[in-house]
């Protein structure tokens, strides 16, 4: 199978003209995913994107139904919530900070954090980033605009910055004895702002949009966000994974790399670098499924980590 796995061999005629590589060869702005739309139809070429937006907006709608319509299905916000008056859910990232800051929370808070922890440990840590977090809407919009405007370059911090930041967030929590990161955390601030009112938090959200658009491509979610780093750590052994199981059909159009929020995770699976199986096991993968959508050759699919078939 790995015979097909070397890049650059595909002749130009096989690369779709609107794809990243095709456009680069012709010197025009690429439209990644256009070939997939032609091959599979618009709906199938946006299946996971639509499902993901439905999930993000649906969760937001559940939180907003209370204050806007008086339907109190879910109370609170992503930091901690109560569903139907019985199901507590708490962000384990916050509980971790609480514990190092020296506060032992009530049992329902620990239970809520346990449920969330178990879910993401099982299904995939960064599912949170792609399917729940509202900031993803902002950074996806910035990435889309960046592609459409054909903006190149920028100064992106190293991808490991977020893990360092995660460590320092805990250190600062311990040093100040408070949830210091929550003063500036754009993730909780944005979600809380949508539900409880923004104040000047718009500035922080707008700042992230501009940072991702103009300075660092995928800068926030892919390189800085310590909350994403926390959930990535949870996803090391999770079950749901993307597999490049039809990698033999890859025509090196590079569209998946263009749309992927963590493009470094694709290569080992697609090109067989350092591994034999086609599973994307890197915990940085958010399982957003956008690579599945934009591939005209249906190379990718979402499966489990136990399915190593090709």
């Amino acid at each position: 199978m790995s015979a097909h796995v070397n890049a650059g061999a595909a002749p130009e005629c096989q690369v779709p003209p609107t794809s990243v590589r095709g456009a680069a060869l012709r010197g025009v702005v690429a439209r990644p995913g256009r070939e997939a739309v032609e091959a599979k139809g618009w709906l199938r070429a946006h299946k996971w994107l639509l499902l993901r937006r439905a999930s993000q907006l649906g969760i937001l709608a559940l939180f907003l139904a209370g204050p806007w319509l008086g339907w109190w299905i879910v109370k609170g916000n992503l930091s901690s919530s109560l569903t139907l008056g019985v199901l507590p859910l708490t962000d384990p990232f916050l509980v971790a900070q609480q514990l190092v800051a020296g506060h032992w929370p009530y049992q329902e808070s620990l239970l809520g954090a346990g449920i969330v922890l178990a879910f993401y440990l099982l299904f995939g840590g960064r599912l949170f980033c792609a399917w729940v977090c509202p900031v993803n809407l902002v950074t996806d919009a910035a990435a889309w605009l960046r592609r459409r405007l054909g903006l190149k370059g920028g100064k992106t911090p190293a991808g490991s910055t977020r893990y360092w930041l995660l460590g320092f967030v805990l250190v600062i929590a311990a040093a100040t004895g408070s949830l210091a990161w929550e003063w500036v955390n754009p993730v909780s601030m944005f979600h809380r702002g949508l539900i409880f009112g923004f104040g000047l938090a718009w500035g922080i959200v707008g700042g992230i949009f501009l940072y991702d658009l103009l300075i660092a491509p995928r800068g926030w979610c892919g390189h800085l966000c310590p909350q994403g780093a926390f959930y990535a750590l949870l996803g090391r052994a999770s079950v749901v994974k993307v597999a490049a199981d039809k990698r033999s059909a890859c025509n090196d159009c590079m569209d998946c790399f263009a749309v992927c929020p963590e493009p470094q995770v694709i290569r080992p699976a697609l090109k067989g670098v350092g591994q034999d199986h086609p599973l994307i096991l890197d915990a940085d993968c958010t399982t957003c499924g956008r690579c599945v959508d934009v591939c005209g050759k249906d190379v990718f699919r979402i499966t489990t980590r136990f399915n190593r078939s090709e």
């Binding site: 490991s160 910055t161 320092f168 967030v169 100040t176 408070s178 909780s188 104040g199």
Partner: protein, 298 residues
Amino acid sequence: MTMNDKVQPTGHAAASAPPARRRFLKDVAGVAGGAGLLALGAGLYAKQASALPATAIRPPGALPEDDFLAACVRCGLCVRDCPYKTLKLAELGDRVATGTPYFEARDIPCEMCEDIPCVVACPTGALDRTLVDITKAKMGLAVLIDQENCLNFLGLRCDVCYRVCPVIDQAITLERIHNPRSDRHAMLLPTVHSEHCTGCGKCEKACVLPGESAIKVLPIKLAQGSKAEHYLRSWEEKEAAGRSLIGDQVELPVRGLEGKAYGDTRVGPADLPQVPDQAPAYAPAKPAGGGLDSGWKP
């Protein structure tokens, strides 16, 4: 290049580390330094901005501010369960820790619900569930802060703060004193007793003054002095011990006050010696022409 490094003595290894390792160390230092600076900035900002404005009051049962900031996850469940929309979450720019719950008494005070739903709703313990009796809450302490504009201090009978107090006659009492301005009326001064005041802020809300209230709920730390521990209050010690700690005092008679309780030196008209009609044996000579003090009384 790697081979060259290998043959070098280990003592010089650090000085001539392979470029890959050096680059790695440099990258790590840069990344860690950047992340550290970002986190440090957040931490310092949090520390600097954690001073709560005096008019922002935490919900009942809130832990002391330092502990509260370690415990509150800013979920807003207390806000949702507040039936009077008293509580709100601080927004960025509100000068209160972003996302934490507070209220402003002059805006909407705490109605002191008996079941304290905000405390029940808190999942983290930032609002302490050991508080089950709302009259034991200590959200702040009311202070009659402007005695120049308080209508009762001006001699009127406004009494509104006293009337609205949910712990009337305990948290706020009206203390009657003489009105020296008219010299013939009383003033009933609203007086707050810290032992019973919950800091609900209904007095501050109800104060009839336009704009700012004359009575305000302040953080207890601002409103109250520290107790002078070295000063034993004899009346408290006496009550606790059932007797005076220094034994009964010798009561010496005071001339002219023989009929009164010991220590009572108040003088009423009846206590004044009955002056007979005859002229006193000695009277100071009056200045000629009356002088400044004519001795006239209404």
